[in-house]
């Protein structure tokens, strides 16, 4: 028996919005510790890693580990049927081939349930090693989203470079070039409005804007985003999801072709 209850069903809506750009289908791995999802996009350039802790739910029960292969388009349809203030419960039997979503309106006058068929997905799982990153940058998520959107008008890819002075996003294309510099902020009331840079050594990497723009679909989940970079490894873009968990995106860099 699997059951997970979330008072704020809107969180799950936002999570779906944040991943369905990159993934068509994915396997939700449910265990006693919570729900995990890991999947690469079709082109194997980026990866989504979602982690929802069991104690972040208002009620959580998972007797046996369960892999739920889900078509995200279908799940989005179901989540659209939920009101923003509805309480949501996901339910499945052990070894079931369907999952049920129950939505209850706040004063319980309306209860709806939707049953969805599960799929058997054969997806490759990647082992992601623990890494100490040379640069860890925290910026307001709306700011990051704006920068990605603005810069992608100029070029297909952007360079993110981090140094003592701050972090710089730059791009160049047919019409010209663009640069956005962010400096570390010191006197801010709220932590999520701050720009915080922890740097061991400077890093400069090149990334495809297309994927960054897809990542920023997670902006509604969190006021702050964290970027982790080291030379020649994938970028990590992390959004915290309240007390429930986090969503992380990994993106492989673009490199200068070694001349052969």
């Amino acid at each position: 028996m699997f059951e997970a209850r979330l008072v704020q069903s809107s969180i799950l809506k936002k999570i779906l919005e944040a991943i369905k750009d990159l993934l068509n289908e994915a396997t939700f791995e449910c265990s006693a510790s919570g729900i995990q999802l890991q999947a690469m996009d079709n082109s194997h350039v980026s990866l989504v890693s979602l982690n929802l802790k069991s104690d972040g739910f208002d009620k959580y029960r998972c007797d046996r580990n369960l892999s739920m292969g889900i078509n995200l388009g279908s799940m989005t349809k179901i989540m659209k049927c939920a009101g923003n203030d509805d309480v949501m419960t996901m339910k499945a039997q052990d070894n079931a081939d369907t999952v049920t979503f129950v939505f209850e309106s706040p004063n319980q006058e309306k209860v709806s349930d939707y049953e969805m068929k599960l799929m058997n997905l054969d997806q490759e799982q990647l082992g992601i090693p623990e890494t100490d990153y040379s640069c860890v940058i925290k910026i307001p998520s709306a700011e990051f989203s704006r920068i990605c959107r603005d810069l992608s008008q100029f070029g297909e890819s952007m360079i993110i470079s981090c140094s003592k002075e701050g972090v710089k996003f730059s791009t160049a294309g047919d019409i010209g070039s663009a640069n956005v510099k962010l400096a570390q902020t010191y006197n801010v009331d709220k932590e999520e409005e701050a720009i915080i840079i922890e740097m061991q050594e400077p890093v400069s990497l090149n990334f495809a804007c297309r994927y960054l723009n897809s990542f920023t679909k997670a902006t509604p989940l969190s006021p702050q985003v964290q970027l982790c970079m080291s030379s020649d490894v994938p970028l990590v873009v992390e959004y915290k999801i309240g007390d429930v968990g986090y969503i992380r995106y990994y993106l492989a860099p673009k490199i200068e072709e070694e001349d052969n």
């Binding site: 049953e115 799982q125 090149n206 072709e257």
Partner: protein, 383 residues
């Protein structure tokens, strides 16, 4: 050509071993292309009003047209192709080659007949059957690849065997061919339809060798030491299905062959057990020798192979393709620029080149593959 009925057997018995995708998903991959196979395809498929493309003197240029434009398409999609040409055919193949020559003679006769009666459909059909890749085609193609800056390798013997060895050694990702015996040579990844025309919209098919073995349940012994034996079991299956090197037992079709192999695990055992009055086993059947060719084919050690993708020679290409060979100069130049452009600038790296793919967990509780789309949504309660 290849292994008779193997692709159908895999599709029926081990569907999860076949993955459909498109060319784009192979970006950043180095891929060994079975050159004889692709030249043959081009000679058959690249035509204008049913005739092969020719130079002013009537020399065929279909293979050059195909090689030039399809290679550019691969490069534009971020794929790094390396062409592998056949060397001398193994002696065991002479029987098969004789048969092919006979069939060609037959086709020639039919063609002459069709031409006399003026049956255009038949003429087209038989002229396609007459297509043969000759040394001139191969040499011209190599010259073209040189000008394009695309590497090629001459295998000492069979190209598929060389490709398989290169995939096993990890210097390329997969073998691109239509010929299923690449799997028999043990190529971990075999890609079909990669060099097909874009307009045909045929999805690229990828065969994963290990999944083929798993799906066919030829890996009952999970111990790696036995892997070799299991591979040989698969080779025996391929020989029974019918390969290029020797005859197979008459009266045994793909289904029966698969059952027999599952039961007895080797041809030797099968021969001890089947009713020879019902099935005619070829006299002096050289299946052991054929098997040897698959297990230890003559190849160049992949470690000695160095692959280099170089800058194309635009003027050289124009000189080679335009003029007598009647290629459009503008298109050749723009093709060369595309090759050159793909070399400059930055390349997107694949994420799986940083993070290792974990071995997939086999979950016995998993829902059946077929149920994905057609399941009626009934709840199955276990326990």
């Amino acid at each position: 050509m290849g292994i008779h009925g193997l692709s159908k057997l895999i599709a029926d018995e081990s569907p999860s071993a076949i993955k459909q995708s498109d060319m784009k998903s192979y970006f950043g991959r180095k891929i060994a292309i079975d050159a004889s196979m692709s030249l043959y395809q081009f000679l058959i498929a690249v035509r204008s009003e049913g005739h092969q493309l020719t130079s002013v003197d009537g020399e065929t240029t279909s293979h050059l047209m195909g090689t030039f434009y399809r290679t550019i398409r691969l490069i534009e999609n971020g794929i790094k192709p390396v062409y592998v040409f056949d060397g001398k055919p193994p002696e065991m193949k002479s029987g098969e080659l004789e048969k092919r020559a006979e069939r060609r003679e037959e086709a020639q006769k039919n063609l002459t007949q069709a031409e006399e009666t003026g049956n255009l459909v038949e003429v087209d059909k038989f002229s396609r059957r007459l297509v043969k890749v000759n040394k001139k085609h191969v040499d011209e193609c190599k010259e073209l690849l040189n000008l394009m800056g695309i590497p090629f390798i001459e295998a000492p013997c069979e190209a598929e065997a060389q490709c398989a060895a290169m995939v096993k050694a990890g210097i390329v990702y997969g073998t691109a061919t239509e010929d299923m015996d690449s799997l028999t040579f043990g190529s971990p990844v075999v890609i079909r339809h990669l060099t097909f025309s874009e307009t045909r919209r045929i999805p690229v098919q990828e065969y994963n060798f290990n999944k083929v073995l798993n799906g066919l349940e030829l890996t009952q012994d999970e111990v790696i030491v036995f892997k070799n034996i299991i591979g040989k079991c698969f080779i025996d299956l391929c020989i029974l299905l019918g390969c290029d090197y020797c005859d197979s037992i008459k009266g045994i079709g793909p289904k029966r062959a698969f059952e027999l192999i599952k039961q007895y695990r080797s041809i030797t055992k099968i021969l001890e057990n089947i009713d020879t009055s019902k099935y005619t086993v070829p006299e002096n059947w050289l299946y052991e020798k054929a098997k040897q060719l698959f297990v230890e084919p003559e190849i160049q050690d992949p470690k000695t192979i160095e692959l280099k993708w170089c800058e194309p020679d635009e003027e050289g290409l124009v000189k080679f393709l335009c003029g007598d060979r009647q290629f459009n100069e503008e298109r050749v130049r723009s093709g060369s620029k595309k090759l050159s452009k793909a070399r400059t600038g930055t390349t997107q790296v694949r994420l799986d080149s940083f993070f290792k793919i974990l071995p997939s967990q086999t979950n016995n509780n998993k829902r059946k593959q077929k149920d994905i789309t057609n399941s009626i949504g009934t709840l199955i309660l276990v326990d």
